[in-house]
C-alpha cells in the first residue's frame, strides 16, 4: 500500500467512501510530498474529532466512573494508626547509630515473633480479625496480622525512632492494636535490659549475644508519638479510583473508536500480554535476602536444621539453607520475584526464628538461636524484573479468547463486521 493510500485510510470510513477517491486523484494529479502526507494525516485527525460522537465518549466515561464508584463503595476501608518509640543512649552511655539500630532490630523481631503476636491476637478486648478468625485457622490470622503490621526505623536526633504502624478495618481497633504493640515493644526492651542486668551475675552466654544485650542496657526507650485514633480511612483512595475509572472509560471509548477491527485488536493485545506473561515467567528471580541463624553452640544447632527448613515455607519465595563455615550458623538465602515478597519472607522468618529459639530453649532448658538479617541485594542477573505476571496472563487469555470468538462469529455469519467508526459516522449529525 502506498503512503498516500495509507494516509487516506486514516480518515473515517464514511468520509473515505465519499471523498477518498477525489482526494487520491487530486494528490496523484499534483504529485505527493511529505508535507502533503502530514497535511492529510492532520486532516484525518480533524475529521475524526469532527465526526466523533461526544455522547458515546461521555457515556463510556460515565460508565467508567460509575464502575469505579461501585468498586470504591464496596472495597473494604482500612485505617492506619501509628506510634513511634524512641530508643536513645541512656545518660552517660555512648552507643553508635549501628549499635542502637541493632537493639531496635532485636526489639522489632521480638514484637513480630509468634508468641507476642499470638498473645495480641488472643487478647479479647482487642477483638482483632473477628471474621477471619471464624473462617480461617489461627496460623492464617497470624500471617494476616504480620502483613498488617509494619515497622520502620529511622534516625531521630541522637537515637533511633521505631515507627509501629497497623492497618485495620476499624479505627478503634487499629489504635488499640498499635497501643498494644507499642507496649510490647517497651516490654521487650525492658526484658532485655533485665536479662542484661542478670548477666553480670555470672550466667554463661554467647559473647555476641552478651554484646547485643549490653546495647539494651545502655539504651532507654520512650514513646515519642502515642497511637492516635485515625479520623479518616487511609484507603482505598476514592478519588484515585474514580480517576482511574474515568481514564479506563475514555481509553475503552478510544479503543472502540480508533480500532476498526475489534477482533484483530483483541487478538493482538492478548498475544502481546501473553508474550509479556511468558517473559515475566521466564525471567530469573531478582531479589535476594539473607537470614543467618546463629546458635549459642553447635549442639544447639543440631536441633535447628529441621526448624530452619520449616522456616522457609513462604509462598512466592524460594530459599536455600546452608550451614556456614562457622559451626553455629545456618544461612538461609531467600530469592523472590519482588522485594515485597522478599521483605515479607524475612519478616516471617525472623518471627519464626524466634519461635524456633523458644522451642530450643524449652526443649534443652538452655541455648538460644538468634536471627540476623542481611541487607537487601539484587540477584546475580541484571535482566529487568517484569511484574504483573498473573494479571497479564489472565487478561491475555481473555482477550485472545474474545478475539478468536469474534473472528469465528464473523466467519460463521459471512458478512458480519463490527466497526465503531462506521456506526458513529453513519449516526453523526451532518
Amino acid at each position: 500500500m502506498s503512503l498516500l493510500k495509507w494516509a487516506i485510510r486514516c480518515y473515517p470510513r464514511a468520509w473515505r467512501d465519499r471523498y477518498g477517491p477525489e482526494l487520491e486523484t487530486l494528490v496523484e494529479d499534483r504529485g505527493i510530498s511529505s508535507r502533503d502526507v502530514a497535511n492529510i494525516l492532520a486532516g484525518a485527525l480533524r475529521m475524526h474529532l469532527a465526526t466523533a460522537s461526544w455522547g458515546i465518549l461521555s457515556a463510556f466515561a460515565l460508565a467508567g466512573i460509575l464502575a469505579a464508584a461501585v468498586y470504591a463503595w464496596h472495597a473494604p476501608r482500612y485505617y492506619l494508626s501509628e506510634a513511634a518509640v524512641r530508643f536513645a543512649p541512656a545518660p552517660g552511655a555512648v552507643l553508635s547509630y549501628g549499635e542502637q539500630l541493632a537493639e531496635v532490630s532485636r526489639v522489632q523481631q521480638e514484637v513480630n515473633s509468634r508468641p507476642v503476636l499470638m498473645s495480641v491476637l488472643e487478647k479479647q478486648s482487642l477483638d482483632l480479625y473477628p471474621r477471619l478468625r471464624q473462617e480461617a485457622p489461627m496460623e492464617d490470622v497470624l500471617e494476616q496480622m504480620r502483613r498488617d503490621v509494619e515497622f520502620h526505623a529511622e534516625r531521630s536526633g541522637s537515637g533511633v525512632a521505631l515507627h509501629i504502624r497497623y492497618r485495620g478495618e476499624d479505627p478503634a481497633r487499629a489504635q488499640a492494636a498499635v497501643y498494644e504493640l507499642t507496649a510490647r515493644a517497651i516490654d521487650a526492651h525492658h526484658s532485655r535490659q533485665r536479662l542484661a542486668a542478670q548477666l553480670s551475675d555470672g550466667i554463661l552466654i554467647n559473647p555476641r549475644d552478651r554484646t547485643l544485650l549490653n546495647f539494651s542496657r545502655l539504651t532507654s526507650a520512650t514513646v515519642l508519638d502515642p497511637p492516635l485514633r485515625p479520623a479518616h480511612a487511609a484507603g482505598p483512595n476514592a478519588m484515585m479510583i474514580l480517576g482511574l475509572g474515568l481514564l479506563a472509560g475514555l481509553a475503552s471509548a478510544g479503543l472502540l473508536w480508533s480500532v476498526r477491527a475489534l477482533p484483530v485488536a483483541a487478538l493482538t493485545a492478548g498475544s502481546l500480554l501473553l508474550l509479556y506473561a511468558l517473559l515475566a515467567y521466564m525471567l530469573p528471580l531478582r531479589y535476594e535476602r539473607t537470614v543467618i541463624l546463629r546458635a549459642d553452640s553447635p549442639a544447639t544447632l543440631k536441633l535447628a536444621p529441621p526448624l530452619a527448613e520449616s522456616l522457609v515455607q513462604v509462598p512466592e519465595v524460594t530459599a536455600s539453607v546452608e550451614t556456614g563455615n562457622e559451626p553455629e550458623t545456618i544461612t538461609i538465602h531467600l530469592r523472590a520475584r519482588d522485594w515485597r515478597s522478599a521483605d515479607r519472607a524475612v519478616s516471617l522468618i525472623a518471627g519464626r526464628a524466634m519461635d524456633a529459639a523458644e522451642y530450643v530453649r524449652r526443649k534443652r532448658g538452655a541455648g538460644a538461636i538468634t536471627p540476623y538479617i542481611g541487607p537487601e541485594s539484587h540477584g546475580e542477573d541484571e535482566l529487568p524484573y517484569l511484574p504483573f505476571f498473573a494479571p497479564a496472563l489472565w487478561t491475555g487469555l481473555a482477550l485472545t479468547g474474545c478475539g478468536a470468538c469474534f473472528l469465528l462469529l464473523r466467519r460463521a455469519r459471512g458478512s458480519y463486521t463490527f466497526s465503531a467508526i462506521d456506526w458513529a459516522c453513519k449516526n453523526s449529525p451532518r
Partner: protein, 96 residues
C-alpha cells in the same frame, strides 16, 4: 475555516471546479497554498452547510463542485464586510 471557506467560495464563484483546479486557482489569485487534507476538510464542511454542491455523477474521481445560492449569499455578505473594513483601513493609512 473562515478564510478557507472564503477562498473556496471565491474560487467557485466564477464556475464549477474540481479539487485540483480549486487549489491552482486559489494559489493564483490569493497566493495561498492549501494542502489536500485542508482543502477536502473545508469542502466537507461547506457541503455540509449547503454552500457548495457536487455537480458531477456520484463516485466521480474528479468531482466538480458549484457554489449554491446560500453560499453565494454568505460570500456576498462577507465581501461587503471586507470592503467596509478595507475602506476604513485605506482611509486611516492615507497620510494626513
Amino acid at each position: 475555516m473562515h478564510d478557507r471557506a472564503l477562498l473556496i467560495l471565491i474560487s467557485l464563484s466564477d464556475g464549477e471546479k474540481h479539487g485540483y483546479a480549486m487549489m491552482e486557482d486559489i494559489a493564483a489569485f490569493a497566493g495561498a497554498k492549501l494542502g489536500p487534507g485542508t482543502l477536502y476538510g473545508a469542502i466537507t464542511r461547506l457541503e455540509q452547510r449547503g454552500w457548495i454542491r457536487p455537480v458531477g455523477p456520484a463516485g466521480e474521481r474528479r468531482q466538480p463542485y458549484a457554489i449554491t445560492g446560500a453560499g453565494r449569499a454568505w460570500l456576498e455578505s462577507e465581501i461587503e464586510k471586507l470592503q467596509k473594513i478595507g475602506k476604513v483601513a485605506a482611509r486611516r493609512l492615507r497620510p494626513a
